[in-house]
Amino acid sequence: MTAAKGNNSNIYQKIRDTIASVHSHVSKKRPDEAWAYAPGLDFWEKRCRAAETGEKIVWHNFTTIPEPFYAFDLLPINCDPMTAYMARFPNIRLSKWVDISQQYVPDHVCAYDKNLLGLALSGDVPQPAAMVGTAGQPCDSALTIFPAVAEHLGVPYYEIDIPYWKDERTTQYVAEEMKGLLSFLEVLTGESLNMDKLCQAIEYSNRAHELHHDIHLQRMHVPCPLPTRFLMFDGALMNSQVGSPDAIGYLEKLRDMGRNNIKKGVGAISEEKTRIAWVHLPIMFDTQIWDFIEEAFGAVVVQDILTNFKYIPIDTSSLDTICRGLALRELNMTMGFEVRGPAENLFEVAINMARDFKVDAVVFGGHTACEQSWAIAQLMKDVIYDELGIRTLIFDCDGLDPRVLTSEQLKPRFISFLETL
């Protein structure tokens, strides 16, 4: 059992403080975009104050849906977006914790998980009350590291088992796993499941998903009415804050922005020349790479894999319908569905993304550790070309660790590709 260090300048506070300073900067320079930072700031503010408020924090992995936690007044932290923030902010970065973890695990383990392991070993974050993960998605790194971290910290752990398939039998199995999760949370909190709270969390989440679906459809418009960089916010939000009311204001504003631009017939950038589907994780350590290709080539990333949610409203009539709905959301999680199951899952998503969003090119790259995707990248490239006549740029880098490939080394790959499109 590892006790956390005192709360002096822990990582939650560092993230909160950095977001606050970015928010403050943006409020002055681009005041019409400051609202985009509000949900993130609010999220981390709440986590920083959890020790005072007595609210329990639960760490969960990327492909665990957050709604059940909100139903029990818990504060979930999706560990991957936490790591993404740390990677993105030059004053934090990941090297310290990745290096700590590499005393135990090899470098090829995913940096998202290495960072978490390093954080747990360093004591630079307060200990969570529990952890929840999914087995079967997204990958082997998360499968081994997540429960190991919980074991090391001595905190209760629940694993949601996700089968390989996507049929009705699978949905029923995962629905039962969801019931198991709710029971686990009852034991954790010492409180029985409150159906009203659960329904409320689902209703918030349904509203968020409905708004997000509007935004999803807006991005299909030519020209794309929404800036690429908002994809980064969306990804974190939809995997962490749905189930609370905090996601809704942001999504309404984003939807309105899209709506207005479509009405005016304008795109997010002045001259959209190339539309790109980014079928992988964003490069977290350099979010400006998207700005660069916009400026240099008029190339807009209209959709990425993390924000490519399937719209699944959940029926709140009963516990059974709720658990079934949660199971379907879980099975269709972004960066879950695509990488779980047969290769055709990824092909289907990539082709639909390319087609629906009317893209000129596909980019596959962003994180070197996703060995389950890398193994079928070539197949995917061929399938996309055969089906749609669209080219795919495949490049590798560690999306979290610029020490593998720096931004400057990345740019030529894009230049070569876009130049020859």
Partner: protein, 373 residues
């Protein structure tokens, strides 16, 4: 030691004359992966189960067209062989979601060089009741698919017979492995691992006979295996007798292992009646040792501790294939455990094919020297 040589020979080649005879007599062969797929179902269908190993692969030129430079060489070598028709003798293939690399291997294999019968099992990562029931259903679907494709019947009796046969194998292999507990064992660890490997491609009736003969020969053998230290070998897919030789020539007896190509094959005995499919589901799901099982980390650590105790182990070789994230992640708790037990260990990264045996040898020799002091 005629039988021992027969078995070692069978373990070192991709095909062998047992498979050739089987095929000549009209028999069919079904390849499988990992330690969670019940061979008994395949055997009960009158088919020969063949544990897929890309023996003899030393480059992955064709596989590299599809798989990337972050995929493990075991999977890439299997793919290389598949694309090069080296597994042309397979009439069927059954795989599972054992790890990211092997499941993608299956995808590419079925899309680029399909085998007449291909089936995939979704094996749970947990072992609770619901998971066992799920796996039971998966295995029933598998049995039905085999029956349809190969036009055979997998009856309760067939299954009971197969289970009894495999129980016998497990019991014999257990006896063999226990011999390595002795101070001066009659066989080396390398020989023992080769014996286990041979079993993955020999019909079990014949294999059991060979094992019985082997036992007799061993009884007649004067135990004379010398070593400096007793080691436990654990980690990624390991079927490399050259590497095992390097370890033993350096003075380290591989007295015990937790390998999937090793002692994992016999963790218990099945009853074989009642609901054999259900019993197989539970038995194979609970197969200890594979880090894909998310609720079994402590059990794996206990297994390591038990083996250390029972086999008088002085040190542990934790080897992992580069890009194996299961054994990569597992290294964290295992390291902590071994440190807590005060057992010396070495964490070795390798490729599936022994490319740099020279550097491995140096590291192993240094490790053994350290322990011998």
């Amino acid at each position: 030691m005629d039988t021992l040589n027969k078995l070692i020979g069978a373990s070192n080649s991709l095909g062998n004359h047992y498979i050739e005879e089987w095929k000549q007599q009209g028999g069919k062969v079904v390849g499988f992966f990992g330690s969670h797929i019940p061979e008994e179902i395949i055997y009960a269908a009158g088919l020969l189960p063949f544990r897929v190993r890309p023996v003899g692969c030393n480059q992955t030129r064709e596989a590299d067209v599809y798989m990337s430079n972050v995929n493990c060489t075991f999977a890439k070598c299997c793919l290389e062989h598949a694309l090069g028709d080296k597994f042309a003798f397979l009439d069927g293939l059954v795989s599972m979601n054992s790890c990211d690399h092997v499941r993608r291997l299956y995808d590419i294999w079925r899309l680029k060089s399909p085998v007449p019968f291909m089936h995939f099992l979704s094996v749970p990562h947990l072992t609770h009741k619901r998971a066992i029931n799920w796996y039971r259903d998966e295995l029933a679907i598998f049995r039905d698919a085999i029956e349809r494709h190969f036009e055979v019947s997998v009856t309760q009796d067939n299954l009971a017979h197969a289970i009894a046969l495999y129980n016998r194998t497990r019991s014999l292999l257990r006896q063999l492995s226990d011999m390595l507990k002795k101070d001066i064992p009659p066989i080396t660890g390398r020989e023992y691992l080769s014996i286990v490997l041979a079993g993955f491609s020999i019909p079990k009736e014949q294999y059991n006979q060979l094992l019985e003969e082997l036992m007799k020969e061993i009884k007649g053998r004067k135990p004379d295996v010398r070593y400096k230290t007793r080691l436990l070998l654990m980690g990624s897919a390991f079927d490399d007798s050259n590497f095992a030789q390097v370890i033993e020539e350096s003075g380290g007896l591989i007295a015990a292992d937790t390998l999937s190509f090793g002692s994992r094959v016999y963790h218990g005995i099945l009853k074989g009646h009642g609901d054999p499919i259900g019993e197989l589901a539970e038995f194979y799901l609970k197969q200890p040792g594979c880090p894909r099982m998310a609720d079994k980390a402590n059990e794996r650590l206990d297994l390591v501790e038990r083996k250390i105790e029972e086999f008088g182990i002085n040190g542990v070789i934790y080897q992992r294939i580069r890009y194996c994230n299961l054994w990569g992640g597992e290294a964290f708790l295992t390291t902590k455990k071994l440190e807590a037990l005060g057992v010396p260990f070495i964490n070795l990264e390798r490729e599936y094919y022994p490319t740099a045996l020279g550097t491995l040898r140096t590291r192993i020799e240094a490790f053994i020297e350290r322990m011998s002091k």
